[in-house]
Point group: C2
Chain length 353, copies 2
Amino acid sequence: MARIAIDAMGGDYAPKTIVEGALWAAQEYGIGLELVGRKEDIEAEISRIKSIGYVLSDCGTKGRKRRIKIDVDKIDYTITHCSEVIGMGEAVGQSIRRKKDSSIVCAVQAVADGRCEAVVSAGSTGAAMAASLFGLGRISGITRPAIAVTLPRTEKPVVIIDGGANSDCTSGMLTQFAQMGVAYAKLSLGIENPKVGILSIGEEEGKGNELVKETYPLLKQMHEENLIDFVGNVEGKEVFKDKADVIVTDGFSGNIVLKVTEGSSSLLLNMIKSEFKSGFIGAIIGLLAKPFLRRILKRVNWEFFGGMLLLGVRGISVIAHGRSSAYAMKNAVGAAVKVLNKDINSKIAEKIK
Amino acid sequence: MARIAIDAMGGDYAPKTIVEGALWAAQEYGIGLELVGRKEDIEAEISRIKSIGYVLSDCGTKGRKRRIKIDVDKIDYTITHCSEVIGMGEAVGQSIRRKKDSSIVCAVQAVADGRCEAVVSAGSTGAAMAASLFGLGRISGITRPAIAVTLPRTEKPVVIIDGGANSDCTSGMLTQFAQMGVAYAKLSLGIENPKVGILSIGEEEGKGNELVKETYPLLKQMHEENLIDFVGNVEGKEVFKDKADVIVTDGFSGNIVLKVTEGSSSLLLNMIKSEFKSGFIGAIIGLLAKPFLRRILKRVNWEFFGGMLLLGVRGISVIAHGRSSAYAMKNAVGAAVKVLNKDINSKIAEKIK
């Protein structure tokens, strides 16, 4: 049975939603857990769930909670106590080095020591990245690890890489992101021949910033060598069309894409809600329309994909959203489960050589 | 009476929607027009509108068209013939220099010569920018002109600067964008003391890419000198919250914000439409919900703001969306009208000194 290390202390609602989501995932995917953090806090949380027998969580639709039965006795879990937690605002490099007994460092160590196959954390993204990089090491040949993020679309989802690990990038890094993104899209999303694009402003070759102009010919050459299927520049509005399956970009722009998508979608949904509240008839129609809008909300919700995979490190490391609910955490663990036993790292290593 | 030069040949549906929108704007805002382009094409379009007496256009809601009565005889317009057009795919620098008789170059010239107070073009953004820069010149002290874009939000709109004029920027350029953006938000949107933020990935000082890290202390210093009200980093999802009124960024990231907002909103609205089409009851509820969704569509539609202002050139130059409908074009002219007689350029020049 595969075992996943959980940073039980990371996340805005930790350890509550983290432990809930992890137990839910263990039950749903049939995996074992190593819960890492303050022992008494984790135990208290587990006792609570055990005594009531369920977890209460929305399932991708805010405001409507469901009871998910959890049979704690059937779940194979261990608790690894550690005393420290790295907070969201802390300087990453320092805290990783100083707080050797922090939940994220210890959770990564469980993978490094071979007790677990993957680690999942909803704590500080920077800390999770740094802990994974120091604890697991880079895949040989990889310049910098990158975050692969999956965004929902009408048909197939799209992978954005880098989603925020590297604010400033070189063209060489971007060509590696392309290779890693392709491996991820194939193994995790089952896309046979992923089309690779580069995020830019303008469709034609030669449009974009210096980084894009430098990277474009390199990706084109990789295309000619049949290493990737490169489709050229992808504009911001084309991200959500079927032009590319993997979109390569620096971590700054990639993160902007994710966060703007989150922000504009939630603005739009809030506008719809308030529009329906603007009168009696509106309220009734809004009530009728609710189940439909809820289905949409579920489809576009980031919680559905739960976690972003850190690619390029020697192990599986999933970074979950800081605001993860139990549902989001369950799906983040699911994102790790999807690539378990698929040897994604050796497949990346092969490509990079 | 103020007079506005219109590049009648620029835009995907030119000259039809361009002439329609310009006449509509002339009537609505009481301005005169100089329509620049192929004389026979423009005249044919005007005759058509004159004979039917109206313009048929959606008004920010796709698919539902309204008739807008246009009394052509009451509109003060002239036509300036020129023979050439610069296409969307053409290399900008070359075409501006070679095609001296192109509609965008001649329309800018009408402002440079003092016949018009502003120029509006829905043609190639690059060509409109280059023509404006060469034809009007830079405001003294400004390193690079930038595009100010207004995005709708629940309460006040937000100004993003640069929206795509400069793919690669320096920190010095960004501090000027802040000054220009503040002048624009005050004069065009009537925001008294605009809060200025810098687009970044992470809220705290010290987070972001190299450009952000370099620019942050400069903006902070301007804040301490009471030149601007600087609120710090603005993450992608905070763009749509009330954190900042003016968001400073390089043209690459700025354009990504705009296009991703456009793309993700239209994905969401399409999902809603298809969800309502998924069954008989859904179709009925969808029909009832339509007027509500239409109001939303109108509020979030880029066509409502129609045009982006090119700031930093000595004159008023508005760049409209390539896919401008008559409604979008009318609003783009409206964006120019909003800053007429407000002496925005000398106000920018004062700040920069």
